[in-house]
């Protein structure tokens, strides 16, 4: 099987290039793309990429695979079409080396939404209790692993990565807005009420298309707008 992989070392290379690799893969193999990359790294130890849990939980190996963002560790090589598998780093973020990108911008947006529970009430004797119904509202939100596949597939995030929170951050923002134990709903909404942070989402839905966990940031963004509208009318 043939691979074409993005190579760039800012310290030595003037510009990025695509390098071809070939790997023997047995027919009927259930190899994942991450396994293939690890095998290619044995051929060429200079190839750099991130990986950790190798089972779609840590979110380290988000890559642009044949033009679509996804996690290498849960992408079967057998599912990849075309003569050559084209692997690039996540688009829109600065490349540190080869397939490794600088996620600082992405984390800055995540930090902005205050991704932690804030409760200003008197602390309960043991713990903040939540009904099963209220807990169910967090399903489809808390599962985000911050792999950045969605935000780096979003044109609005490409154009304004410093101002638009991005699908991942907004999904997390809604996770705390809808949490029955959080008391900062109003100030969280106020923080998002500018022309960029939330409203730069134009409903392109690339985020929904690429999310390796099957989450729906566009729906969460719609819910945040509804909450804002209910407060603002």
């Amino acid at each position: 099987m043939q691979f074409s992989i993005y190579r760039y070392n800012p310290e030595t290379d003037k510009k990025p290039r695509m390098q071809d690799y070939e790997l023997e893969i047995e027919a009927g193999s259930d190899m994942m793309l991450l396994d293939a990359l690890i095998a290619l790294k044995e051929q060429d130890p200079t190839l750099a990429f991130r990986r950790s849990c190798r089972e779609g939980v840590c979110g380290s190996d988000g890559l642009n695979i044949n033009g679509k963002n996804g996690l290498a560790c849960i992408t079967p090589v057998s599912a990849l079409k075309g003569k050559k598998v084209i692997v690039r780093p996540l688009p829109g973020l600065p490349v540190i080396r080869d397939l490794v990108v600088d996620m600082a911008q992405f984390y800055r947006q995540y930090e902005k939404i205050r991704p932690y529970l804030i409760n200003n009430d008197e602390p309960p004797a043991r713990e903040h209790l939540q009904s099963p119904e209220d807990r169910a509202k967090l399903d489809g939100l808390y599962e985000c692993i911050l792999c950045a596949c969605c935000s780096t597939a979003c044109p609005s995030f490409w154009w304004n990565p410093d101002k638009f929170v991005g699908p991942s951050g907004l999904l997390q923002a809604y996770r705390f807005l809808i949490d029955s134990r959080d008391t900062e709903t109003s100030s969280r909404l106020a923080d998002l009420d500018d022309a960029y942070s939330l409203f730069r989402c134009r409903g392109i839905m690339n985020c929904v298309d690429v999310c390796p966990k099957g989450l729906n940031p566009t729906r969460a963004i719609g819910h945040i707008r509804s909450m804002m509208l209910q407060q603002g009318l």
Binding site: W159, D193, D194, L198, F199, G232
Partner: protein
């Protein structure tokens, strides 16, 4: 919270709501006008004057034009903040759009009320 100086409103929610309300007004105006054109037996001067001479239609027309101007201000501002990166060119573009919207609105009002 990100600040913006030349956007239509000061709040993202405000611009978002205005964008949607003006879109509905524009759709209603276009549908009404299209229905009028297709249902009219003839489209002579007197028929047009009969339509545009009515006070309620003058108000409807002005409302549609105002909606177009606000919609364009918000929309073009968003396009410019996505695609025009140099601050100087972006500012000139945004100011030109705002001035054009204002000029077209006054000009249009004058036309509607001269019928």
């Amino acid at each position: 919270m990100v600040t913006s100086a030349t956007s239509f409103g000061r709040s993202g929610l405000h611009d978002w709501v205005i964008q949607r309300v003006t879109a509905v007004v524009l759709a209603a105006y276009v549908i009404y006008l299209a229905a009028f054109v297709f249902s009219a037996e003839s489209l002579e001067f007197i028929v047009w004057q009969g339509l545009f001479g009515k006070l309620w239609f003058k108000i409807f027309s002005l409302l549609a034009l105002a909606s177009l101007c606000f919609h364009a201000w918000i929309g073009m501002w968003i396009v410019s903040t996505d695609y025009i990166k140099p601050t100087g060119i972006r500012m000139v573009f945004q100011v030109l759009v705002i001035l054009a919207c204002f000029a077209f609105l006054i000009w249009g009002a004058q036309i509607f009320w001269s019928v």
